[in-house]
Amino acid sequence: MMRRPDEQARRPDEEVRRPGEEVRETIPPVDGRNIDPEVGALMGEGALQRVRDVNAPPHGEASWIGPPPSDVPDTPVPTYYGVPALKEPVWKGYIPGYFYVGGVSGACAALGAAAELMDGRAMASLSRRCHLVAAGGSIGSAALLIADLGRPARFLNMLRVFRPSSPMNVGTWILSAFGACAGLAALPSIVPVPRTVRRMADVASVGAGIFGLPLTAYTGVLLAGSAVPLWQGARRVMPILFACSAAASAASLLDLFPARGRASVAVHRFGAAAKVAEVALTVALERQVAAVPRVAAPLRTGVTGGLWRAAQGLLAASLVTSLIPGWHKRLRIFGALLGTAGAVALRFALLDGGRRSARDPVATFEQQRAGRGAREVPELESPRRHPESERSGAAASGEGGFELTDRGQHA
């Protein structure tokens, strides 16, 4: 915006004052807009965009300006200067942290409810511990999710709609219901309560178990509901892996304070079976993703690859400790530590792997060229060639449009 000529003539430090006007003390904000609010009104669609640092990279830490990232070597697949075709996920470490905490509390609530329903008297201490973990975990989960938001004060906006197409919305409803049930279920373990409340807590404990089940697995659906090649490639395995891993992590957490007795046997069997499935599913996930080798690259190379292998190793080692017969307290604790570390590493590897995958345009393009884009959707019969070029006969001459299966164009 232009200043009036008489103002332009003044020295910049001189106050501009007209009769009846307040002394102007504020200087125009440095927000990359160069609009003097005294002269021009900020009314545009993007005017509310808050700018704290004009020189911040335009795409946050994920900025891509400069030489192509090392993830994109010379390949026959054309890219636009190696610029990512997707925006990489903006989530911070809170989210994989939540995947762990939410999973553990959900699986604990399920085990606690089962213990209370099937063997209430003998396993009272187990179900009590499970209730406390579930209640604490639900609070921790909410805190982690809120901390990751760009506008944390608006967390409750998640609950202003119910939208089945959004796994994040569905998950927030599940977590809310779970939190309410888990909190009530844990109440008698924390403070003395009258009998009616105790009975309500028993019902709530079953509710927490029921809502805890999807809480462990929906996070896998959440990641799958993205355009990130790695997560899309893993979409059939991730929800099951997350459920099994949650069970294994819950058993590991309970095993950190091992006790003898029937409850301990139940926890041990729960954990051992879950660990077998967990390790097997990491292998299955990698195999499924590797149908397009480039998509599996983040799990096989670099820091994320190391983290993924470390997670697999830790989980396998934890499984081995579970299979050693007999009661060894220290071994139990050691195995529990291994399992916990593995579960956390697994979640961070999957999240960072997704970030790297989104950053690699070749992964995006190759996956779709390999028929794993829209053509993979069962109810769609994607045209092999663009109808426009077919209509004009250009397709016959091999000039018009592009062929999804034609890899020759890349060479």
Partner: protein
């Protein structure tokens, strides 16, 4: 209100970036810093939270009929060179990944058929950022919310053409009613084919053309494979594949329930 959109004819783009400037000015978006990228004349890089139009520049080592001055016999660099320029924008998909992923209902479809993010509702969860198959919408770190092209909703309300289309000096960006634009675009492709530009084709014009998104409200006429313009060859709205994940989750949940009950029961009856 009709369904409005853009038809971007890349064969007419001269890379003047007037659309980028008009967009920034009208929407009062902050600048993205002044950096040189080394990517031809493209110093914008990509679409983002405060960049709602982006002009791509591709220097191709092969000829494209129509570039140069064929009447004088003059050609760009002995005929072994051609420019591809494309003004990229939010595609306002018929099935929009961002809209279907948004957990707060901040993203909605307007009466013009465009996809709009309500800044007063968005809580910055970042899910739309991962859900967009075109890498359009982005969260601004210091603002905390997700932003993208609004198809100049404020201008449309006043019967004005979006700022970028208004500023485009070559009619590369054409704004109008979707059905009319598609017809115009098909005629343009036919015309280009007649003139020897056999490479010309439409990207994302309708559901048959791009089943993963069921068609774009901002579609393009391209002259090379989509990847060269940084467009995905077969994009799909993630929700189209989500049924498989929900089913997998059902198996996971059933397994976990069985495991919990089974381990308690076996401990009760076992040794």
């Amino acid at each position: 209100m009709g369904q409005m959109g853009f038809f971007t004819d890349t064969t007419l783009c001269i890379g003047c970036k007037a659309c980028e400037v008009a967009c920034k000015q009208w929407n009062q978006l902050p600048d993205d810093g002044f950096r040189l990228t080394g990517m031809s004349f493209d110093n914008t890089g990509q679409l983002g939270a405060s960049t709602w139009r982006h002009v791509a520049f591709i220097e191709r080592p092969e000829a494209l009929p129509g570039q140069g001055s064929p009447l004088d016999g003059a050609q760009l660099a002995d005929g072994a060179f051609s420019w591809l320029m494309m003004s990229d924008v939010c595609k306002h998909c018929e099935r929009a990944g961002c809209l279907e992923a948004c957990p707060t209902g901040a993203i909605l479809r307007t009466e013009f058929g465009s996809i709009y993010v309500q800044p007063d509702v968005c809580n910055g969860c970042g899910y739309c950022v991962t859900a967009c198959p075109f890498g359009v919408i982005d969260r601004r770190t210091d603002d905390g919310r997700a932003w993208k092209c609004t198809l100049c909703y404020d201008r449309l309300k006043e019967d004005l053409v979006p700022a970028c289309a208004k500023a485009c000096p070559t009619a590369s960006i054409q704004f109008g009613e979707i059905g009319e634009l598609k017809e115009r675009a098909r005629q343009r492709v036919d015309h280009l084919h007649e003139r020897g530009v056999g490479q010309a084709y439409l990207y994302g014009a309708d559901a048959a053309n791009q089943p993963g998104t069921e068609g774009l409200h901002a579609f393009f006429l391209l002259c090379d494979v989509p990847e060269k313009y940084n467009l995905p060859p077969d994009p799909v709205v993630p929700t189209k594949k989500l049924g498989e994940s929900w089913r997998a989750m059902a198996w996971g949940v059933a397994g976990l329930a069985a495991l919990a009950v089974g381990s308690v029961l076996s401990a009760r009856s076992g040794p």
